[in-house]
């Protein structure tokens, strides 16, 4: 056994857009242990549920995270609607699913750019984010916001997408899908990318399940687990199967996310084809009384919302279990016995979102 050295990784680190700290215990160049610590950006958003009324909390919930913001708003509204037994109109559900999939595309493209930056492929990083700008423009055109959509409310959606806008949206998405191939082919086929990702940070399916991995992390290890299969919103109406890869390494996690980008394009097309004219929301009156767990699939994995209402305009308890929190124990497991140089790539492939984790 060589001498042990502790290298601090984060909270400020070039590959980390948000602060998480890892103490990397090294023996020569090999990591033997990683000790994570979080708590740099806790904002106490769950506690705000006691001050803001249930309708205002939808805006607060969206601000838990700047990347998967729409799903946070949608999950909160889904949980409250279940407690208050509100039936959201069909068109409201389809609009939510379209925005949720658009948010997945923009999140995965953002992540693809960060990963490319993480292994030093600057051009690929810029091209990924250039494509992401186009999806952000479409989001702004349909919701009014770029990263904070603000289009989901208790009882349905706050905005409708007119038929002419929808036609333009589908046309632009088809063109974007074509252009995405240039970058995704590089991720999947380029030998330099494969050198940094193939066989790096492998996690076996059993370990992934035992350590509670969720989302693309779990699916890359061969476990077909996707909360969209549980049937929230109107996902059962769509033709959908979780995307699974077998290897469980960084390349497999990249492949899952790359294929999910194209799956999202397909799901948006299916939603647009099935949407019928009609109301997008229902009037909500009264206050929630009771509790509910809602499980949704964010771009990063399964997210759980717990709401407990006591018949007043404020919730008694609001709790969010976010995917990155679930993915930290598998990350610590993966970081054992790898080279120090591979740490940034492995940390990035869990798609860490620390704002979600700490709220």
């Amino acid at each position: 056994m060589g001498a042990r050295t502790i290298i601090p990784f984060g909270p400020q680190h070039p590959v980390l857009p948000e602060p998480i700290h890892l103490d990397l215990v090294l023996e020569d160049e090999k990591v033997v242990e990683a000790i994570p610590s979080i708590g740099f950006i806790h904002r106490g958003l769950e506690r705000l549920a006691e001050k803001k009324d249930i309708h205002e909390m939808a805006y607060v919930s969206e601000r838990i995270c700047g990347i998967c913001s729409f799903t946070h708003g949608m999950g909160y509204c889904t949980a409250i609607e279940a407690v208050m037994k509100i039936d959201v109109p069909e068109r409201g559900h389809y609009l939510r699913m379209i925005w949720s999939e658009m948010s997945r595309i923009h999140s995965h493209l953002l992540w693809a750019g960060l990963l490319a930056d993480g292994f030093g492929f600057e051009n690929l990083f810029m091209q990924s984010w250039r494509l992401r700008e186009r999806i952000l423009d479409l989001i702004e055109e349909t919701t009014g916001g770029r990263v904070i959509f603000g289009s989901c409310k208790i009882g349905g959606s706050r905005r409708d997408i007119a038929d002419d806008v929808m036609a333009r949206l589908l046309k632009e998405l088809a063109s974007l899908e074509k252009d995405c191939h240039a970058i995704t082919d590089t991720f999947m086929e380029d030998s330099t990318v494969a050198k940094r990702t193939r066989g790096v940070g492998v996690i076996a399916p059993d370990d992934a399940i035992a350590l509670g991995a969720v989302g693309p992390m779990l699916r890359a290890s061969g476990v077909a687990s996707d909360s969209r299969s549980l049937g929230y919103a109107l996902y059962p109406e769509l033709s959908f199967a979780p995307i699974v890869e077998k290897d469980g390494d960084c390349w497999a996690r990249t492949a899952v996310r790359v294929r999910e980008i194209y799956q999202s394009f397909d799901l948006i097309r299916q939603c647009a084809a099935k949407m019928k004219p009609g109301p997008v929301d229902v009037k909500v009156s009264g206050n929630p009384s009771g509790e509910y767990w809602a499980r949704l699939e964010q771009p990063r994995g399964e997210v759980i919302y717990y709401v407990k209402g006591n018949g007043t305009k404020n919730l008694e308890r609001y709790r969010v279990r976010t995917p990155t929190f679930a993915n930290v124990p598998p990350l610590v497991h993966m970081l054992k016995n790898i080279d120090l140089a591979d740490v940034p790539v492995i940390v990035l492939t869990i798609d860490p979102c620390i704002s979600c984790t700490e709220r």
Binding site: Y59, V60, D137, G150
Partner: protein
């Protein structure tokens, strides 16, 4: 990447238009229905304070007696809840995002109450 594909990509890069816009000389036109800055029309407002009630970050303060409407644009989260709540159409949203604020300030408007109908008006028939 083969030499042919490499040369094609390089030549394409030389002859194609730049991917970026020459900002600030060439600004992107605002996207319609984007949620930009809140506009207040004091001519239409009845100072009912519904907007204050609906504002999630409490950026709007309305004094019903004094007929004062005040908004702190730095607190505003541009959600549009006040515009939806306004019954008189005195609040609207601009598609532009507006200039950055250089100092903290709270903008307020005050209008005098319309004259009350005088008591010696002609009695109803």
């Amino acid at each position: 990447m083969g030499l042919g594909k490499l040369s094609f990509t390089a030549l394409k890069g030389v002859f194609s238009k730049p991917a970026t816009r020459r900002y600030p000389f060439e600004a992107r036109p605002p996207i319609a229905k984007s949620r930009g800055r809140i506009h207040f029309d004091d001519g239409k407002c009845t100072y009912c304070s519904l907007c204050e009630l609906k504002c999630p970050p409490d950026a709007i303060k309305v004094d019903r007696q004094g007929r004062v409407f005040a908004i702190d644009h730095l607190l505003c989260i541009l959600c549009g809840a006040c515009v939806e709540a306004c019954q008189k159409g005195s609040l609207s949203m601009d598609a532009k995002h507006g200039e950055p604020w250089t100092e903290k300030q709270k903008l307020s408007w005050h209008t005098e109450a319309p004259p009350k109908p005088s008591g010696d008006a002609a009695p109803k028939a």
